[in-house]
């Protein structure tokens, strides 16, 4: 007979309530791990989606995410001719607020040339950008339906396609538009400003400027060698995709990661204390029973098993509920809660360890109970 299970069955209501309370705490901790992972995943979402091997940006910068970068539009053709480069595409990036049917919508606008690197890797619904101007492919996070009209920089864009999971490092949905539209949006002066520039003799200025050129390499090309060639001979900065990923996670979202990481650690610490206290209370509630067990000759392993099994059952049931709660509610979070099998398993291990260590104090207390305590009134 299993004493731990029998005791749980006997106090099932209380156990379930304790379990539920604990599961909510674990759910918060698990959600924090998911949000932490989500920040990293979102930071890398754009660069992964573009499937670029190289990022060519303005010399002396680590753009276009960590720093501002501006390079002439014809750099794309120059990069495309570098040995080892299979194809290249120019892109612009700009955070913008658009007027959408549901109100002001903050988004990261990516300008690219359809048919060249720089566009979304997959379209969830609708189609990619066609030949017409003022079309937009936007991520589902923007909650815009196909055919919706969005006003951006005084122009009206029509949503022709939807992507999924493509957001900027800040969590804003990505909106893909034609490079030319994006360049106008970003670099074209307003008529009064253009007039002032002309009057000052500076001209209205060219808008053929891009923020970066993304390049895909031939399978046998060495990204580091091609990057070095571009740096040395073209007077541009070139980052491999690995370097760009490093910048995104170590620089762009570093503070957010550390903040979330610290908060997660604090939550886990609080969880550990609460779990330990619950297990201790559950054990002390059975003081007389444990004393009786000892008096009738139960070996220590029976007492240890009783406490430890209940701790692990409590932790396991609580964690299963927590996982279900987080998965059921993660769509409600404004930012991604990225939980995969690795994170779930890792947290299960952490919770298991917490239960294990949390029960040590209780086991020690249980073993210290004197059998005499069963005697007398």
């Amino acid at each position: 007979m299993n004493l731990a299970l029998a005791d749980i069955r006997h106090r099932l209501g209380r156990f379930l309530m304790t379990c539920f309370g604990l599961s909510l705490l674990m759910a918060v901790a698990l959600a924090m791990v998911g949000i932490y992972q989500g920040v990293v995943a979102e930071a890398l979402a754009l660069s992964r989606s573009l499937r670029a091997d190289l990022w060519v940006v303005e010399q002396g910068t680590r753009g276009p995410f960590a720093e501002s970068s501006r390079i002439p539009g014809d750099v794309r053709a120059i990069v495309a001719r570098v040995p080892g480069v299979a194809e290249a595409g120019a892109i612009t990036l700009r955070t913008a607020e658009a007027k959408a049917p549901q109100g002001i919508l903050r988004m990261q606008v990516i300008g690219h040339e359809p048919g060249r690197p720089g566009g979304p890797s997959a379209i969830e619904a609708g189609r990619g950008l066609g030949g017409a101007r003022f079309e937009m492919v936007v991520d589902a996070r923007a909650r815009l339906p196909l055919g919706a009209t969005v006003e951006l920089g005084g122009d009206r864009y029509r949503v022709v396609g939807l992507t999924r999971g493509l957001v900027a490092s800040g969590g804003d949905p990505l909106a893909f538009v034609h490079l030319r539209d994006s360049q106008d949006l970003q670099f074209k002066l307003t008529p009064p400003a253009a007039r002032r520039a002309l009057a000052a003799g500076a001209g209205a200025g060219s808008t053929d400027t891009v923020n970066a050129v993304v390049a895909r390499l031939h399978a046998d090309a060495d990204p580091d060698a091609v990057a070095e060639t571009i740096r040395r001979w073209k007077h541009l900065a070139a980052l491999t995709d690995a370097e760009q990923g490093e910048i995104l996670t170590r620089s762009v979202v570093q503070r957010a990661r550390v903040q979330l990481g610290m908060f997660t650690v604090v939550l886990l610490f609080v969880s550990a204390v609460i779990i330990a206290l619950i297990i201790y209370t559950m054990t002390m509630d059975k003081l007389r029973e444990i004393a009786t067990l000892k008096l009738i000759g139960a070996p220590d392993r029976t007492i240890v098993g009783l406490v430890l099994q209940q701790a692990l059952i409590l932790g396991g049931a609580g964690y299963l509920t927590a996982t279900a709660v987080v998965f059921a509610s993660r769509g409600l979070f404004p930012r991604a809660v990225a939980l995969g099998p690795a994170e779930i398993a890792m947290m299960a291990g952490v919770i298991g360890l917490i239960c294990l260590f949390g029960s040590l104090v209780s086991i020690r207390a249980a073993l210290a109970i004197e059998p005499q305590q069963a005697l007398g009134g």
Binding site: H10, R11, T292, L295, I296, G297, P371, L375
Partner: protein
């Protein structure tokens, strides 16, 4: 015949120096198989200390304790050995029955057997047999909270008998029962003692059951003041 319990010059002192308290002083007592012995005395007379020493949970300061002729506390016994001794040789009955509230009557009895290594199915079968023997078989599936005081105490007696102990130690087993149920419980204990040649030592204040003992030992200030056998 070897006495089930033998106490030779047992003494127990708590603390040391000026605060030392002599709880037992030179107690000699032998309880034979099948004998039901009552221990009475005022508070502080040493009854509980005596019971704890015989239960092998308190080491005497002086003297020698023998159970079934074997010396306990001779330096060879470790905690695990004492627990095994309690598991296999001693049955306990408490004032408030101390049944585990999360096990039904059968499992409460069977638990004592499984702790001694009996297979769970066999333990349950034997537990039902014991409950029948104590005329409580119809309540075998009841949880302790559903049992009356007398029923719970019968289950506790069944648990005490689970491993066929040579000794049963009872601490105020009738204190929570009315006169009639108290007498029934004592009669059951007498029957067990006779049927199984078990020595039964009962600490009690309950005057209504004094006539149910073969011997009544009165303690005062840690010494045996009176050791009187019931007239045949």
């Amino acid at each position: 015949m070897t006495a089930r319990i033998t106490l030779e010059g047992i003494g127990k002192t708590f603390g040391a120096g000026e605060t030392a308290l002599r709880a037992l002083d030179g107690v000699d007592l032998a309880v034979q198989p099948g004998e039901v012995v009552g221990i009475k005395g005022p508070s502080g007379s040493g009854k509980s200390t005596l019971l704890n020493i015989v239960a092998c949970i308190l080491e005497p300061t002086d003297g020698r304790l023998l159970i079934d002729g074997q010396t306990v506390w001779d330096g060879r016994y470790r905690v695990a050995d004492l627990r095994r001794l309690r598991r296999e040789r001693i049955g306990f009955i408490f004032q408030f029955h101390n049944l585990l509230p999360f096990l039904d009557a059968t499992d409460n009895v069977a638990l004592a057997m499984t702790l001694a290594g009996v297979d769970a199915a066999e333990a349950r079968a034997r537990a039902r047999g014991l409950l029948d023997y104590l005329q409580i078989g119809r309540r075998a599936a009841a949880m302790p909270a559903r049992l009356s005081g007398g029923e719970a105490q019968r289950v506790a007696i069944a648990r005490a008998l689970a491993n066929r102990p040579s000794i049963i130690l009872a601490d105020e087993p009738t204190a929570a029962l009315d006169s009639e149920r108290a007498r029934v419980v004592m009669d059951l204990l007498r029957q067990v003692a006779q049927d199984r040649q078990t020595a039964i030592l009962v600490v009690t204040h309950d005057e209504k059951i004094f006539d149910r003992f073969d011997r009544m030992v009165a303690l005062r200030d840690g010494r045996i003041e009176q050791d009187r056998r019931r007239a045949a």
